[in-house]
């Protein structure tokens, strides 16, 4: 095993998939000569040439649509949209075309397309460059939305997404690119993940923390802190937002009796709302306290560091919510001795 960054895991996996399958090609703004705004595609133009690593004009609707059309004829394009904010320019192609073509034509053409795109705030990029709008895509039948939180998951999930015959929105996060984790030395040894499965990444007995992408990582940190206090938190990493693995969520909450959802998007109508509804539908009788959600403050994210930091969910805010939820259960917790 080697320790690699999330960025490196993505890059090595893209390369491996391109070597494996001639039909895999990359498209996006600045992915070739510039080697990617976040350097995920570093070195790939040099290795594979401009036929397979295609710099596009700044035309999200155009190049995402073109990728869909290419996928209809059997290519497996992996599109990079520089940030998820810009995916809004391609919303019609993603929602009205990529997601519809398989069903609308009675299963005659599938769209094996991957759209990689990072969300996330915290970089002082201001209101239009810091959003988390994965919900828009997670809402749409016909799309699959995955949101891995570690380099190993990112690699396994990207392989699965590329080999899948449906359009997959692959959510990354700016704050994750430099995070590190273990990956087999030979990237070929990484098994493709199963899309649609959440994972209990840390077993526990007192409370369930449910997160995805960056917040799954924050949840793991918070679980460490709580462990030092003698509190056993179980962490569920959703990994897939659509389909949503409701069974794993509910099974966990049935074990722990309470839950906090950690999400980087806005609270109202957000991903956490669906998780909370799922918990009450599947574990109502097991709940000792209301489900709480930790989510971004409902403002256009400001530039100033003080305001930005205050608005974003963090380990601190998650800890507060976990403690409040545990208190609301009325359980007498044994303090750590």
């Amino acid at each position: 095993m080697a320790t690699v960054t999330y960025r490196q895991a993505l890059r090595d996996t893209l390369r491996a998939e391109m070597l494996r399958d001639e039909n895999v090609l990359l498209m996006g703004e600045e992915i070739g000569l510039f080697e990617g705004s976040y350097k995920i595609t570093e070195g790939l133009l040099k290795e594979f040439g401009p036929r397979r690593v295609r710099d596009t004009p700044i035309a999200e609707e155009g190049f995402v649509g073109a990728a869909i059309g290419a996928a209809m004829l059997g290519l497996r394009p992996v599109v990079e949209i520089m940030t998820i904010n810009f995916s809004l320019l391609a919303l019609d192609q993603i929602v009205n075309h990529a997601a519809k073509i398989y069903g609308m034509f009675g299963g005659q053409a599938s769209v094996p397309l991957v759209i990689r795109t990072p969300g996330g705030g915290g970089q002082q990029l201001g209101a239009t460059h810091s959003q988390n709008v994965e919900l828009f895509y997670a809402f749409i039948p016909g799309l699959k939305v995955v949101a891995p939180s570690t380099p190993a998951e990112a690699s396994a999930m990207l392989k699965a997404a590329i080999r899948d015959d449906d359009p997959v929105l692959f959510l990354e996060n700016l704050a994750l690119y430099n995070t590190k984790g273990e990956l087999p030395d030979a990237i070929d040894a990484v098994e493709p993940a199963e899309i649609g499965r959440a994972a209990v990444t840390r077993p526990g007995t007192d409370i369930t923390i449910i997160g995805y992408s960056r917040m799954a990582r924050v949840a793991a940190e918070v679980a460490d802190t709580l462990a030092a206090e003698g509190i056993s938190a179980e962490v569920v990493d959703l990994r897939s937002l659509r389909p949503l693995d409701r069974e794993t969520i509910v099974a966990s909450v049935r074990r722990t009796g309470c839950a906090v959802v950690a999400e980087d998007d806005w609270l109202t109508y957000g991903i956490g709302a669906e998780i909370a509804a799922t918990v009450q539908e599947g574990a109502f009788d097991w709940l000792d306290a209301p489900v709480r959600r930790v989510a971004m403050a409902e403002v256009p994210l400001p530039y100033a560091k003080s305001l930005e930091t205050a608005a974003l969910p963090s380990a601190g805010s998650l800890l507060t919510a976990v403690r409040a939820t545990l208190a609301a259960t009325g359980r007498a917790l044994e303090p750590a001795s």
Partner: protein, 391 residues
């Protein structure tokens, strides 16, 4: 060219007010009619040859075109009737008046060439070789339809005929077609992708993005704007700052031309030039075919925004009648032949309607069959009142 009094008046008013020079732009979309200028306009960094090296058409070919045009005409009339009988739901846009364009364009394609269209595409499906019965069954929402009843009038698709979809969102198909052409080129094939759209589509961003990409990447795509003069009820001159739509190709150094869409042979020749250029040189092309829409935007639209004079002028522009007259004048279509062809295509269309009517609607058990091509864990397969968890 025949201009309606309304439009002439509008132009005169504009010319009388030079201070509002932008308004003085007259209608640049020729009103289809008997006096329409015949030679296509052409442009492009490398303007194509206007001479089309092709053998003269045989009487059989020309009568074949007429037959196909009449099939489209009778099919659309039958569809309109079925719509008023509530056999067809949703929206229903007809190719009435566009038969020469439809048939001419399809005659320029090889069977292996791909076609993307918008939602006004029944005729294209027929002319691409799909049986009238399966097209009508799709309009009726039956499992025997080309899209198994999942698409309806706006979303015809047939993988075998390489009709890669009618699309209901204006402009949605244009980037898709560029991408399909990329796939053809990537795999080293010599197929061409034709992308049909209406005049209104030239105002959509995706049109420009796709044409730019197609030109940058030298893709074998032929973009065809069928200019019927109206985006729903809005005249081209009211929505396009450059109403000579074919000229938009110049912005992408794309060869482009305009052709009289009521002349099936002219359309076929112009399209053949575009298609063969795309095939042999892998260069995209923009073709504008000017052709009237004889009726409203869709079956339910009485087109009250058209004056009586405009409606009367349309009768002269009817490409089916025009073609019949031409063929009769040339001595290759007798009144008896015409009646016989009419009876045959009418019978074909009636049989299609009967087939559609007798076909079953898709079984409800198939509701979840086409959400995903790759099965996936956790997919919700519930009807509205079903609980999320069954236990």
């Amino acid at each position: 060219m025949a201009e309606t009094p309304t439009r002439s008046a509008a132009r005169s008013a504009g010319e009388a007010a030079p201070a509002r020079a932008r308004r003085s732009r007259g209608p640049r979309t020729p009103r289809p009619g008997p006096g329409l200028p015949q030679p296509p306009d052409t442009a492009g960094a490398e303007a194509p040859d206007t001479a089309v090296p092709a053998a003269p058409d045989t009487a059989g070919t020309l009568v074949g075109f007429y037959r196909q045009m009449l099939l489209v005409r009778r099919f659309e009339e039958r569809a309109a009737r079925a719509y008023t009988e509530a056999k067809i739901g949703g929206y229903c846009h007809l190719n009435l008046g566009e038969e020469a364009t439809v048939v001419g364009l399809m005659a320029a394609l090889r069977p292996t060439d791909y076609l993307f269209t918008n939602y006004r595409e029944h005729g294209y499906a027929l002319a691409k070789g799909i049986g009238a019965d399966r097209v009508m069954a799709e309009l009726y929402g039956r499992s025997t339809g080309v899209s198994k009843g999942w698409g309806g009038s706006m979303h015809l698709f047939d993988a075998e005929a390489r009709l890669l979809g009618g699309y209901g969102i204006v402009g949605g198909q244009v980037p898709l077609a560029a991408g399909a052409a990329l796939a053809v080129s990537y795999k080293g094939g010599d197929d061409v992708v034709m992308c049909q759209m209406g005049d209104g589509t030239t105002a959509i961003g995706g049109f420009h993005e796709a044409l730019n990409i197609a030109a940058l990447w030298d893709l074998p795509a032929v973009f065809v704007v069928v200019n019927n003069g109206l985006g729903m009820g809005t005249a081209v001159e009211r929505s396009a700052a450059e109403p000579e739509l074919w000229k938009r190709g110049a912005a992408y150094r794309m060869a482009s031309a305009r052709v009289d869409g009521t002349d099936v042979v002219a359309v076929r020749d112009a399209a053949r030039l575009a298609v063969e250029r795309a095939r042999s040189e892998s260069r995209p092309y923009l073709l504008e075919a000017v052709s009237p829409r004889l009726k409203g935007h869709s079956v339910v639209d009485p087109a009250r925004y058209r004056s009586k004079e405009e409606k009367d002028a349309l009768k002269d522009a009817d490409p089916v009648a025009r073609t019949a007259r031409r063929l009769a004048d040339a001595g290759i279509l007798s009144p008896e032949d015409r009646d016989r062809i009419d009876a045959e295509v009418t019978a074909e269309v009636e049989a299609a309607a009967a087939f559609a009517d007798a076909s079953p609607q898709p079984d409800v058990s198939t509701l979840f069959d086409y959400t995903y091509a790759t099965p996936v864990a956790g997919e919700q397969r519930r009807l509205p009142a079903d609980p999320v968890f069954r236990s």
